[in-house]
C-alpha cells in the first residue's frame, strides 16, 4: 500500500514571495504519477501539476514547479510570486501507473497543507 505524508499542516507566505510545500511518499512501485491538487476555500478541487515518475525532468506550470527526488521519495511544490488567489488547501497525491485492474486508478492523498497568502 502507498502512503503520502505532508508534514506541514499550515503555512503562510507574503504576497509575491516564494513558498515550498513538502510531500514525501512511500511505495514499492516503480511507475507512478504524483500530483498536487489545490482546493480554494469553498471551491472545487483542481489539479495544479502532475509528474510522471519515469520522467527525470521536474514538471512546471507557470508559477508552480516541483522538485521530484525519486530516490528520496520526495515531491515538493514551489509556488513563485505568490498571489492572494493561491490561498487554499494543497494536497499531494499518488497514483500507480499502468497497473491492471480497476484499483490502478485509485488516488492516495496526503492530509493536506493549508496555505495562506498574506497581503
Amino acid at each position: 500500500a502507498q502512503t503520502v505524508t505532508q508534514s506541514q499542516p499550515e503555512m503562510s507566505v507574503q504576497e509575491a514571495e516564494t513558498v515550498t510545500l513538502s510531500c514525501t511518499y512511500d511505495t514499492s512501485e516503480n511507475n507512478y504519477y504524483l500530483f498536487w491538487y489545490k482546493q480554494p476555500p469553498s471551491r472545487q478541487m483542481i489539479l495544479v501539476i502532475r509528474q510522471e515518475a519515469y520522467k527525470q525532468q521536474n514538471a512546471t506550470e507557470n508559477r508552480f514547479s516541483v522538485n521530484f527526488q525519486k530516490a528520496a521519495k520526495s515531491f515538493s511544490l514551489k509556488i513563485s510570486d505568490s498571489q492572494l488567489g493561491d490561498t487554499a488547501m494543497y494536497f499531494c497525491a499518488f497514483m500507480k501507473h499502468g497497473a491492471s485492474g480497476a484499483g490502478s486508478y485509485q488516488l492516495t492523498f496526503g492530509k493536506g497543507t493549508k496555505l495562506s497568502v498574506i497581503p
Binding site: 503520502v4 472545487q44 478541487m45 489539479l47 502532475r50 497525491a93 485509485q106 492523498f109 492530509k111
Partner: protein, 113 residues
Amino acid sequence: DVKVTQSSRYLVKRTGEKVFLECVQDMDHENMFWYRQDPGLGLRLIYFSYDVKMKEKGDIPEGYSVSREKKERFSLILESASTNQTSMYLCASSIIGEEETQYFGPGTRLLVL
C-alpha cells in the same frame, strides 16, 4: 470543459435516515469515484466505479453503498446515517486512457444530527 456536479452543497440529516448523494458528469467518463474529506485526514476513497453497474470498494466502504445505473450518474448511499458520517463528500470522474486526471465536483457537506 468537464463538468462534475453534485446534487447538494449542504445537507442536514437525522441519525438513522437513509441518505442519497448524487453525482453527475457530462463528459462520458467511464470511471467515477466517491471520496470523503475530513480535516487532518485528507481525502479517503469510499467506492469507485469503472462502468455501469460495476463497483469496487475503496479504503473506507463501511456504512456506505453505491449505485451506478447510468454512465453519467454515480450515487453514494448512507443506509442509516450516523453522526460519524458527518463530513465533506467529493465526487470525481476520469476517462479510460487518461485515468491519471480526475475531475472533481464541488462537494457536499453533510451534517448528521
